[in-house]
């Protein structure tokens, strides 16, 4: 199979240096309307060579429509799509150097596995011997050497998924689009296949664009993630950015779980910000400057694992970052326990603690009054 590329996108991170790197896929101001419904609204997105880019969003977020426009099944109402420097906006799907792996796999039921994989190569008019060699290569790649003569309905779900992948890779496309590639598999198979997929992608160096609604899948697969909401891109970033530094309430809530608190800016300094929150019953001290104005109403989000529970009142930070409440619910999940703390304001916080001591008899339990505290940089200040 293809040689391993010298450098993987994840190693070079071309998106961090846009001045010296040319994007491979350029989506410019693309909108798509179906009648009165706006499916995709003014999306601009650059994707670089050898990336594994995930479009993440709920149903109706426009992620699939965007993917279908890249494949050529839909034409944008406005905007342009460039692939490898060529304008592809009006090019029909059968003339694009792009292949797609379908959510339903779309394996041709009346053709064998081999015929399915060979279909695209035949359309290109390749010599028969070369087609046979290529099909064989791909069957080895997806570990289905012995299944070439079978019909799709004689395969298991996981095998079908691999045939679909092999068929989409057969023409060695510059860009591979994957629509919920793991959606139809059960949980265990999905986890195995995730790593398989990343391995194949790195081995071939093909640029992947994956559409998924599963945030865990996006986190494990992607070099970068584009979170979509109501036809727009809410945030683009590396998985850690998306999780640790969400840019909006939507992203913070959509990825993982987050405690969202409303507050008012009481101190706005270049090196720190203080937020007064009646919901928390205390002030929030944030250890960096934020683009905001005094007395501005904003939100602050914090992940459950970024907070600490204690029975004794901690010192706190500049007289802030300590909330008091009563343990209302405990969900024991084995590795961690999630505590639901009811604050005086009626606000509930979710705090997770690692169960590092086995069968801890001294663990915090129901109805105890506890203190919740956090670091000055543990949460994200959100203005939208």
């Amino acid at each position: 199979m293809a040689k391993k590329p010298q450098q993987l996108a994840i190693d070079t991170r071309p998106w961090r240096d846009t001045a010296n790197n040319k994007p491979f896929v350029r989506i410019k101001n693309v909108s798509k309307k179906f009648g009165d419904i706006i499916a995709v609204h003014e999306v601009s997105l650059d994707i670089y060579k050898s990336e594994l880019f995930c479009l993440l969003g709920g149903s109706g977020s426009g992620k699939s429509t965007l993917l279908r426009m890249l494949a050529g099944f839909e034409t944008p109402t406005s905007g342009t799509i460039e692939i490898d420097g060529q304008d592809m906006t009006e090019v029909p799907p059968y003339n694009r150097p792009v292949n797609m792996m379908f959510q339903s796999y779309a394996l041709f039921p009346h053709m064998s596995v081999e015929q399915n994989i060979a279909y695209g190569l035949k359309r290109d008019g390749l010599p028969r011997a070369e087609i046979a060699a290529r099909v064989n290569e791909l069957l080895v790649l997806v570990k289905l050497q012995d299944y070439g003569k079978r019909k799709p309905h004689q395969l298991s779900g996981g095998q079908r998924q691999r045939v679909a992948l092999a068929r989409a890779l057969a023409k060695r496309p510059k860009l591979l689009l994957l629509d919920e590639p793991l959606g139809a598999l059960d949980k265990k198979l999905r986890e195995e296949t995730q790593f398989e997929l990343v391995k194949i992608q790195e081995q071939l160096g093909v640029t992947f664009i994956v559409v998924t609604h599963d945030q865990e899948e996006a986190m494990t697969l992607a070099t970068r993630i584009g979170v979509m909401n109501q036809g727009e891109i809410a945030m683009i970033g590396e998985p850690t950015d998306i999780y640790e530094f969400p840019n909006s309430r939507f992203v913070a809530n959509f990825i993982g779980s987050a405690n969202m608190v409303e507050g008012v800016v009481s101190e706005d300094e270049p090196d720190h910000v203080r937020i007064r929150s009646s919901e928390l019953g205390c002030d929030i001290y944030v250890g960096h400057g934020v683009d905001c104005a005094p007395e501005q109403r904003l939100w602050w989000a914090i992940r459950p694992e970024k907070m600490v529970l204690s029975r004794e009142q901690p010192a706190g930070l500049h007289g802030a970052n300590v909330a008091t409440g009563i343990v209302e619910e405990i969900a024991y999940l084995g590795d961690i326990s999630v505590y639901q703390i009811a604050l005086e304001s009626g606000k509930r916080l979710r705090v997770s603690q690692t169960n590092s001591v086995r069968g801890n008899p001294d663990a915090i339990t129901w109805d105890e009054t506890v203190y919740v505290t956090w670091d000055e940089d543990a949460g994200s200040v959100l203005t939208s």
């Binding site: 040689k3 694009r96 390749l126 060695r172 071939l204």
Partner: protein
């Protein structure tokens, strides 16, 4: 870059012959869509819609001797075109007792036969829907099979069964029962309609019944309903679209039925299809036959609309 591009692959933008043809057609303003639509559209316009319009037109003409045997609607005399419409065919339909009676009796016969078909067909459809999987296809095939054998021959088979010295009466004779007159009665017409249209009733009923989840019946029983209540309050309402669709599929063609009344019915069995046939073939009164047809269309229009709605519901479920 190096790994993904293979110089042996020809560039994918080769012009293929079909693309050229498509492009050529597109240039003249012909899209693929139009090519698909045009043939069936024109065919149906010319051989379905236009004929109905012609029927309506001729129903407004008068009978005359000659070829064609009706007066022309449009006549031109010295440059002026004259349109002559006659309403007397329609007036005749309402004033001549024969026609009114024929319409009423057609509706009555079709309705009674439809109800009998429903009563016979419902248990059969229900039994098939509840049968084990491997039996279901065979039973369905047995229902459909007679539908594929000639309609005419099935009606004919019935005559052999019901005539004075037919199979039934010979069977009854074994027990010393006097032969019963069945042929050439309205009874024979009912039997004929039920016999030939039964598959049309069973299939839509089966389609709705087979989709009913068994857990619905279990839930009903669990909530304390006896089987009869489950049937009345769960099964029956849920199979209503199938009942309507099946009934209309029997009722509509039964109204215009010609073969059954003429082979099984007696001289006093009045059905509108037969009247139209006689008007056309025996009396060669084409305008009158056309008027009868137009009136018949009006009679079946409401059931047809009912059918369309019910079929939508059968398919959706």
């Amino acid at each position: 870059m190096t790994a993904t591009h293979d110089p042996t692959i020809p560039p994918p933008r080769r012009l293929k012959p079909w693309n050229a043809v498509e492009k050529g057609l597109a240039r003249v303003g012909i899209t693929g869509r139009m090519l698909v639509l045009i043939a069936p559209l024109i065919w149906l316009l010319v051989f379905f819609l236009v004929p109905l319009a012609v029927v309506f037109g001729i129903s407004l003409a008068n009978k005359q001797f000659g070829r064609p045997p009706y007066t022309p609607l449009l006549t031109s005399e010295e440059g002026t075109v004259q349109l002559t419409l006659h309403l007397n065919n329609y007036i005749r339909l309402f004033t001549d007792n024969l026609y009114v009676a024929a319409y009423l009796s057609s509706i009555r016969i079709a309705a009674i036969a439809t109800i009998i078909t429903l009563l016979v067909g419902y248990p059969m459809a229900y039994a098939i829907a509840r049968a084990p999987d491997r039996w279901r296809n065979i039973l369905l095939m047995l229902v459909v099979l007679p539908f594929f054998t000639s309609f005419l021959l099935r009606v004919y088979a019935l005559t052999g069964f019901m005539r004075g010295n037919g199979v039934i009466n010979q069977f009854l004779g074994l027990f010393g029962i006097e032969p019963i007159v069945m042929m050439q009665t309205d009874f024979a017409v009912y039997v004929g309609i039920v016999y030939t249209y039964l598959p049309f009733m069973i299939l839509p009923l089966y389609t709705t019944l087979v989709k009913l989840d068994v857990s619905l019946f279990e839930a009903s029983a669990d909530l304390g309903a006896r089987p009869i209540h489950t049937f009345l309050f769960v099964t029956l309402p849920l199979s209503l679209p199938g009942i309507i669709a099946g009934s209309m599929l029997v009722f509509i063609p039964a109204i215009g039925e010609f073969v059954i009344p003429s082979l099984l019915g007696g001289p006093e069995t009045l059905m509108i299809g037969r009247v139209l046939w006689d008007e056309f073939f025996s009396a060669t009164n084409w305008p009158r036959a056309s008027a009868v047809a137009v009136a018949m269309l009006l009679v079946v229009v409401v059931p047809i609309m009912l059918l369309q709605r019910a079929q939508g519901a059968v398919v959706e479920k």
